[in-house]
């Protein structure tokens, strides 16, 4: 009798978890859809996010019988595709899973890791449960410890991310990729061949080409797309195959090109252009970009690892052999990466300065997830560097809940007002069609 009662309680808890999780995700998806100025062709991305988070369905695509969970940007998707599996990025932004993970992980652990722990604990999220293997690059203390926790529940491979990026480190990382290749082959039962890896390179390369085109169009002045919509597109990439995502992005790019021809822009007003950097923004935790754009700013640049940085750098093959391709993957994973896991991360400053110049950024919002110490450490240096350029910076610390939204809104509003005060008064030069 007692057992039956306990089961009922568990079932009730599960139902409440599912209800809450789907409601929150649906709400943020609706807010994204309601935001004006979305280009044509957004449906596949919205549908993907809805399928994963609202319908709680699998990410698996027809051709792939296995999915491999990945964290961080250092895991090369090409290897996973070459093994006949589909990579699914499992870094989570879910508030409901976070509240479950809060009871498992230490209080000061970052919310992203707590959300992952929460999903794994409930066993209710198909994208997590369906993974044949999880690849965890050790980029911070939380990832290091969550790898241990996850290994109790599923098969896990860890990648040791070196602190530096010299030739020896790349060589060592290449060796790790060979070990990873063996594990992937064992899990999927498919051998990674020269042909399958070349095909995977082409598939990911196509998606990267479309992304570079998208970024080029996104830089256009006046704006053709809002940053929140761009983030939805980039977040959806976690649960789509590179091929499908590339094709869907191609449609969006075509739509943006039509906007240039038709002189259509997101708004006729001159909105303060903001760069978002720091801890990753993962769906459904898109409250910060939404707050920026709902309060009269525009997210013109995104330096976070779930954003443009995640797929931007293509693997450059200088040697057409199999080893050459593996070496290209290792180089791509480490050399251009401005992740704060590296002891010397000066190139992140150059990258931010580059984004500021290219996107004519007027202000930087530095997002720090509570407990994400590595990003917090770099804030001081970035603030100093941007101070020299006269670019205002604001540090926004947030957690995976909605309690701080009003406080964030006030700070973001004030920041946007500050930029507007500095901005020259608008001149209406030509009539533009806005949405």
């Amino acid at each position: 009798m007692m057992i039956k009662k306990a089961e009922t309680l568990r079932q009730r808890q599960d139902r409440r978890f599912i209800n809450k999780e789907t409601q929150t995700s649906a709400k943020y998806l609706r807010r994204l859809k309601e935001l004006s100025g979305a280009p044509d062709g957004m449906e596949p991305f919205y549908d993907t996010l809805e399928r994963i988070y609202v319908d709680m369905d699998y990410a698996k695509s027809g051709a792939y019988h296995h999915t491999v969970g990945t964290y961080c940007v250092m895991t090369p998707p090409e290897l996973i595709y070459a093994a006949g599996a589909m990579p699914v990025k499992l870094c989570s932004g879910n508030y409901t899973a976070f509240s479950v993970g809060d009871d498992i992980a230490p209080r000061d652990a970052c919310p992203l890791v707590k959300a992952v722990a929460g999903f794994k604990q409930t066993g209710l999220m198909p994208v997590y449960e369906d993974c044949s293997l999880m690849i965890v690059p050790i980029t911070c203390d939380c990832k290091k410890k969550i790898a241990g926790m996850l290994s109790d529940r599923c098969e896990v491979v860890t990648l040791h991310i070196p602190a530096a990026r010299n030739d020896e480190d790349i060589e060592e990382f290449t060796r790790q990729l060979y070990s990873l290749m063996e594990r992937l082959e064992n899990v999927t039962g498919n051998q990674i061949t020269y042909e399958s890896l070349s095909y995977a390179f082409r598939m990911v390369g196509y998606a990267q080409y479309e992304l570079s085109e998208f970024i080029r169009l996104k830089k256009q002045m006046p704006y053709l797309i809002r940053g929140s919509h761009a983030m939805a597109i980039l977040n959806a990439a976690s649960y789509m195959t590179a091929g499908d995502w590339g094709k869907a992005l191609h449609r969006v790019n075509e739509s943006l090109k039509t906007r240039i021809d038709g002189r259509k822009t997101v708004t006729s007003k001159k909105l303060p252009r903001i760069l978002l950097t720091g801890s990753p923004i993962v769906f459904p935790n898109v409250k910060i970009p939404l707050l920026i754009e709902e309060n009269g700013g525009i997210v013109a640049g995104d330096e976070t690892c779930m954003g443009e940085r995640g797929m931007w750098d293509p693997a450059v093959i200088t040697d057409n052999s199999f080893d050459g391709m593996m070496n290209a993957l290792a180089n791509r994973a480490l050399r251009p990466c401005p992740c704060p896991t590296f002891a010397d991360n000066s190139q992140r400053i150059y990258r931010i300065k580059q984004l500021i110049k290219e996107n004519q950024i007027q202000g930087v919002i530095y997002h720090v997830l509570r407990g994400c110490l590595v990003y917090d450490f770099e804030y001081r240096r970035i603030e100093d560097e941007l101070g020299k350029l006269g670019i205002p910076v604001i540090r926004l610390e947030s957690d995976y809940n909605e309690e701080d939204i009003e406080q964030l809104r006030i700070r973001i509003e004030a920041f946007i007002e500050l930029i507007k005060l500095k901005q020259e008064p608008e001149k209406i030069t030509a009539v533009r069609k806005s949405f």
């Binding site: 000061d108 241990g148 060796r175 704060p340 002891a343 917090d376 770099e378 804030y379 001081r380 240096r381």
Partner: protein, 414 residues
């Protein structure tokens, strides 16, 4: 806070801890040398060739390259004041303290080589800060997965690189003989420390638990490892003499094991508090105490220079219980051994705010100890002294609970 006030609070913390240790152990003449060593270290402005941050680096290799290691291992609230503006709010107090010591006014640490083991995020970013300030650094990237078949190879490579960097800095070549000599020196020091801990265990009437911890910590404050070894041996002899000639006095207190974040001098509020509430520390299980297991046997002192470095690396990879690893199995195993070999009534798991690696391990440790019926007290704190009274109340309640468990056990047996 002005410069003078900061220095005053630094002085006060050191003097308070040193005075209390002296008062509690005034009868031990051999103990005074350790107090003098700590005092001298705290006010030392000497230049050093090589500075090691933390305890997770084999000092034997630094010594083999002709440098007497100088450590910054944290432990001081006073030093945190000099790093407050350099690090984020949530940084752990150990890293803050380390950075504070480096930036202490009047310190002269622009020339040395800083060896930074990347045990956690704070150390990783501390290295970035030091490099940005133009200081010479040598990173030791510890492989996080001990089960990785290449872990030993990776660790050995890091050690070889570190040797080369220290050697290039000091201008002294690392030879087979110099490594053997330093291995013997540290083995002797560790063996002597192990004897000291064995002889002094359970004799709080002769030497207090805090003093035992302090002797252990003083290794990182000495200018000469050999001198330290000699004095520990002398102190052990003195304690042995008293032990042989006196029966233990005072009432039997519940015995607790101290684990988790290492307790570092001068911030001894936890060991002082444990004594105040009527508990006894049966042993501390942290990575400073566990070095006593890394003693090189005669057969290990064979082979070429590279072979010896590999031997040292293998030993460290096996016994290092710093938070660098995905699973801190060695810490877990040592707690298990301590529980099985000693009579322990409870465990105090000390978690310094921001050191989440230890907090992640807590669940595992708790479930293991619950199998032995040992209650665990999770004590989260930082280097501030404001929470002492709050901790005292909680600790008193824990102490009372342990006494009640003892009483019940005795009743059951009788």
């Amino acid at each position: 806070m002005d410069k003078r006030t900061k220095q005053d609070s630094f002085d006060k913390e050191y003097n308070d801890s040193l005075n209390k240790l002296y008062r509690e152990n005034a009868g031990l003449t051999g103990f005074r040398w350790f107090l003098d060593t700590a005092h001298r270290w705290a006010y030392s402005r000497d230049e050093h060739d090589v500075v090691i941050l933390g305890t997770a680096v084999p000092e034997e290799l630094v010594m083999a390259a002709g440098a007497e290691p100088f450590w910054f291992i944290g432990g001081s609230l006073g030093s945190i004041q000099w790093s407050d503006e350099l690090v984020p709010r949530d940084t752990d107090p150990v890293s803050r303290s380390v950075l504070g010591y480096i930036n202490r006014p009047g310190s002269n640490y622009h020339d040395p080589l800083f060896i930074v083991p990347l045990t956690n995020d704070s150390m990783r970013k501390t290295a970035y800060i030091l490099k940005s300030e133009g200081r010479k650094i040598c990173l030791v990237d510890i492989p996080p997965d001990r089960n990785d078949k290449y872990a030993a190879q990776k660790y050995a490579k890091q050690m070889k690189d570190m040797c080369s960097a220290v050697s290039a800095h000091t201008g002294v070549k690392v030879t087979r003989d110099s490594i053997i000599s330093s291995m013997k020196r540290v083995s002797m020091a560790r063996a002597v420390l192990r004897d000291f801990l064995d002889v002094s265990r359970g004799r709080t009437d002769i030497i207090t638990d805090s003093a035992r911890l302090f002797v252990q910590n003083s290794y990182y404050m000495t200018d000469s490892v050999d001198e330290w070894t000699y004095h520990v041996a002398e102190l052990t002899r003195e304690i042995g003499y008293y032990t042989a000639r006196s029966v233990r006095t005072g009432k039997s207190r519940p015995r607790v094991m101290l684990c988790g974040s290492p307790v570092l001098f001068p911030n001894y509020k936890i060991p002082f508090l444990i004594r105040d509430v009527g508990l006894e520390i049966a042993g501390s299980v942290d990575h400073t105490a566990m070095k006593t297991q890394m003693i090189y046997k005669r057969k290990m002192l064979r082979g070429s220079r590279d072979r010896l470095i590999e031997t040292i690396s293998a030993q460290w990879l096996e016994y290092d219980s710093s938070p660098s690893y995905i699973r801190n199995d060695i810490l877990y195993d040592n707690i298990l051994t301590a529980v099985q070999s000693r009579e322990i009534d409870g465990a105090v798991c000390h978690i310094l705010k921001g050191q989440i690696e230890y907090d992640f391990e807590l669940e595992r440790i708790e479930s293991m100890l619950s199998e032995y019926g040992i209650p665990v007290f999770r004590l989260e704190t930082d280097y501030q002294y404001q929470d002492v009274e709050q901790l005292r109340i909680r600790m008193e309640a824990f102490s009372e609970m342990l006494v009640q468990i003892r009483v019940r056990r005795v009743k059951r047996v009788s």
